[in-house]
Amino acid sequence: MFWMLTCSILVFAQSKYTLSGYIKDGSSGEDLIGANVYVKTDQVIGTATNVYGFFSMTLPAGIYDVTFSYIGYEDQVKTIDLNSDQRINVSLKQGEILEEVVIKEERNDANIQSTDMGTVELNIEQIKTIPVLFGEVDILKTIQLLPGVGGAGEGNTGFYVRGGGPDQNLILLDEAVVYNTGHLFGFFSVFNSDAIKNVTLIKGGMPAQYGGRLSSVVDVQMKEGNNQQYHAEGGIGLIASRLTIQGPIVKDKSSFIVSGRRTYIDAIVTPFLKGTEFEGNGYYFYDLNTKVNYKFDDKNRIFLSGYFGQDVFNYVAPDNTLNISVPWGNATATARWNHLFSDQLFMNVSAIYNSFDFSVKSEFQDFNFNLFSGVKDWNGKVDFDYYPGANHAIKFGANYIFHTFTPYSAEGNFDDVEFGTDTLSNKLAHEAGIYIQDEFDVSKRLKINVGVRGSYFAQVGPYNDIIYGDDNSTIVDTVSYENGEKIADYTALEPRFNARFIVDPQSSIKAGITFTNQFIHLVSSSTSTLPTDLWIPSSAKVKPQIGVQYSIGYFRNFFDNKYETSVEIYYKDLKNQIEYADGYVPELGSDIEDNFVFGRGRSYGAEFFIKKAKGKFNGWIGYTLSKTERQFDNLSTGTAWFPTKYDRIHDLEVVAVYQLSERWDLSSTFVYATGQATTIVESFYVIGGQLQTDYGPRNGYRMPAYHRCDVSATLKNKPGKKYESSWNFSIYNVYSRKNPYFIYTTWEGDFAYGAVDVQAKQVSIFPIIPSVTWNFKF
């Protein structure tokens, strides 16, 4: 593979010059990610900006009409006499969003031309038009409207990509890993849409620059802040309010953005709880995003960004005998330095910190009890973009992470007696990766993106490994590891390959193979991500998860690229998948990895997608037919394959947006998915005079199908005013479908009385929910 890379680079030797620079939004100075730059000679030669808005293109000397374009912006064409290396910075003007006139036809076939498969880029402005629960714009819910992405449940931000679990998604906020993406048990994501610029979802054909997760990458970039003018924007909704302030620190050189959000459910609900059994419960969450950047010169720029968010649940017993406070949340900090070594070599160096902490503090009379868990990473990263010639875009880099995992730890005291989980210690691990990839044209029709990633992972001391006896509970020995001493380590080589073959100007075929390894794991006993979820490293007992994905797709556009369509087929083979043992009970003082069992997984399916990207009426329809199964020798299912809870046989999404007038936007979504596979009670028995339940086969029952329609309407103020104001009216679950949230079994009567009446019940949580949100910007 390296041989191929080097050979293809050496082919270039004649007098060629490099055109490079940045593409920005003309009014805010924000970098535009994925903006197109192209020239039309006998063929279209082009490139796109990276996540910092930088592009570089090397062409034979000559005069070119270079077009700069970005969806929703007016194209700019510059005539450039390329007789030396040139750097230009281009500012694009925002056009009428999604208006046909703005967008010329040439490069609107990016879906056909690129080697990307299973990759979707969402601009935050697009996301904002789609109706959502309680009017809270949520990127993680919007990506669930894409084929191949399944929702974790009613109103939930958790998602499954091509049958992969929620822990198999790499979710990045300005390169920092966000371990727990949900507020309020996953009903809201931690991403405040006002602070977000861009979201990229990669569900297949993961490029070599990403590693460490099997299923997908969700790469979220925060806005940099307007470096031209001060702006404030915000919104007042039913659940939360938002405020964002941004502006230049030094015009054209430096800017900042601060964005905050807080809920007021507690304030609204508390009066209603008085006197009920819920009295004393309180809950709120908030988050804060900040970012500053400074441009020293054309070659050097730094960015500092941070996120801090918390959920707090507290309970004070009405008679004050019990007092519980449960805060949890993420924090991330990213420092980045962009440096241009030359017009062809771009570098970014990042230093990243991220953490997730969960704790419980309780006081009950003389009894104090504190529980905490979490994960903390220090991450160093260097990435290079190298553009040796028009047909090559090479990326290479390395990264290193030091992980600290804190399993459930407890401390407490009763009167003067103290106790704690001191026999358990934090788990520490090194994770490192190095990668190189090249995207290049083999011929006019065939383009290849080939890469390889090398990964290393090691769990290190200090650590006390507790060895249990045959009963799995009595401690028979403790092995102590010194500071930095290796406990277990793993290396992996992960080749990545994607190819695109142009069939005709309107259609292409793409295929890819992706090998991935995942060294850190989260096994959730629930359907969504929870604050109590625990991440753990690979260790002597827990092997890395290994995935191979094969995919092939046909992409075709119709009517001058007005309609984009695609069919993608994938097969995923997964090893070392993890589940809890059948009789798992979460318990303090026991090492969670002793409760795991390991097995195989597979997922396969076909995704159909049709999208109308332009015009007053736009939107898409996605349909996925798929199957996701697992087989675990050490579960009661034995050698049989059983469906995972991520399995959705049919999954349909329809999104429609209509611009009724200058002031009114209407939109609607419809989703349908096969019911979740779940384990249900099949029979009953009596122990201790009480009815007990005996379960049927694991995930052997399908809940009723999930379907729902949402609508929304947005009314903007008249154009030309000094400020923008809009009212968003939305209705969630228009026809109030009682979608199953979970099923449980209950009974009346008792064995002592000779008879019981057993009944299965289904809980549905969100009926029809109208909401209204007021947004402003000035």
Binding site: V326, V417, D471, E682, Y685, G754, V756, A760, Q762
Partner: protein, 318 residues
């Protein structure tokens, strides 16, 4: 200690809060008829003979009348218990055939309060030693022994074994008033325990309030992971009568004037694991939990065969 349950109750509380606007509907599950399994519930204690109940799983939803179920009780099974040296074959007794004075004993075993239930609603059948009526049965539990259970019924064979660990009597038991002075009639039961080394001891407790049978708490088992080798004081909930209406304000509390007997038992790990998984499963339901399969120690069936190294302590709340 099962303090981890604190945050699970929190999650349950949060779930309930979420469910304020939710809606629950009765549904019919479309499932094929599952096979019936034999359920064992057997105990042996120091100085007491083995008592075993053999029942079947009830494989359907809807109204179930235990008396009308032909095969709820497993009759005519061959049941033997062995301590490695001696073996005894148990015989089956059904309530309808028993003399009146033995009913309280059966009620005790089954955890049925004859006063509130107004007698037995079901013709209960149990297997025990043949010389039970002599008052001095020959085959009784002894600390340190391992008891093997063998059951043959039609073509099914069920086996299990359990070990009786030495009792660890509490140093003392005492009560403390309710944290809120307004509830001055309610008290909590406290235990002072010197937990012996080494790590690896398991406990189950029951309480008796006045004339009631012994009931276990909702969370009745403990390990010594956090308290190994320490002298420790802690509180336990009053054992809960399953046919009693749940009352959040009084749950776990005793009343002034009560006579409390604490039954504090040493158990083996399989017994601990069974009750821990069974109780955890009963205590959780909902989107944030998954099916926890009660870890039976019966090979070929469901249920539990357990030896209790029981110690008793009495407290009068005055």
């Amino acid at each position: 200690m099962k303090q981890s349950n604190i945050y699970f109750s929190l999650i349950t509380a949060a779930t309930i809060s979420l469910m304020l606007g939710s809606c629950t509907t009765d549904i019919t599950l479309d499932i094929p008829a599952p096979e019936q399994k034999i359920v064992v519930e057997g105990t042996i204690e120091p100085g007491l003979p083995p008592i075993i109940s053999l029942t079947s799983t009830v494989p359907f939803y809807g109204e179930v009348n235990f008396n009308e179920l032909d095969n709820f009780y497993v009759h005519d099974a061959q049941v033997t218990v062995s301590d490695g040296v001696n073996t005894v074959e148990l015989v089956e007794y059904c309530l309808n055939d028993l003399p009146e004075e033995l009913l309280p004993l059966v009620a005790e075993f089954l955890g049925v309060d004859l006063d509130t239930a107004g007698g037995f609603a079901v013709n209960v059948c149990l297997y025990t030693v043949p010389d039970i009526f002599t008052g001095f049965p020959e085959f009784v539990g002894e600390v340190g022994k391992t008891y093997t259970l063998n059951i043959n019924y039609e073509d099914q064979v069920l086996t299990s074994s359990t070990t009786m660990f030495p009792p660890v009597p509490p140093d003392s038991i005492y009560w403390e008033p309710h944290g809120n002075p307004e509830n001055d009639t309610l008290v909590r039961l406290y235990i002072a325990l010197s937990e012996p080394d080494p790590q690896g001891n398991f406990y189950r407790y029951f309480t008796r309030q006045n004339s009631e049978p012994f009931y276990s708490g909702y969370s009745s088992v403990f390990d010594d992971n956090l308290i190994n080798g320490q002298s420790f004081k802690f509180t336990v909930d009053r054992g809960f009568n399953p046919s009693e209406e749940f009352n959040q304000d009084t749950y776990g509390y005793f009343w002034k004037g009560d006579t409390i007997i604490l039954k504090w038992c040493s158990i083996d790990f399989p017994t601990y694991d069974f009750w821990r998984t069974l109780e955890f499963d009963s205590g959780t339901d909902g989107p944030f939990s998954s099916a926890t399969i009660a870890q039976t120690n019966i090979i070929g069936g469901l249920g539990i065969w357990c030896a209790y190294g029981a110690a008793y302590d009495t407290l009068i709340v005055e």
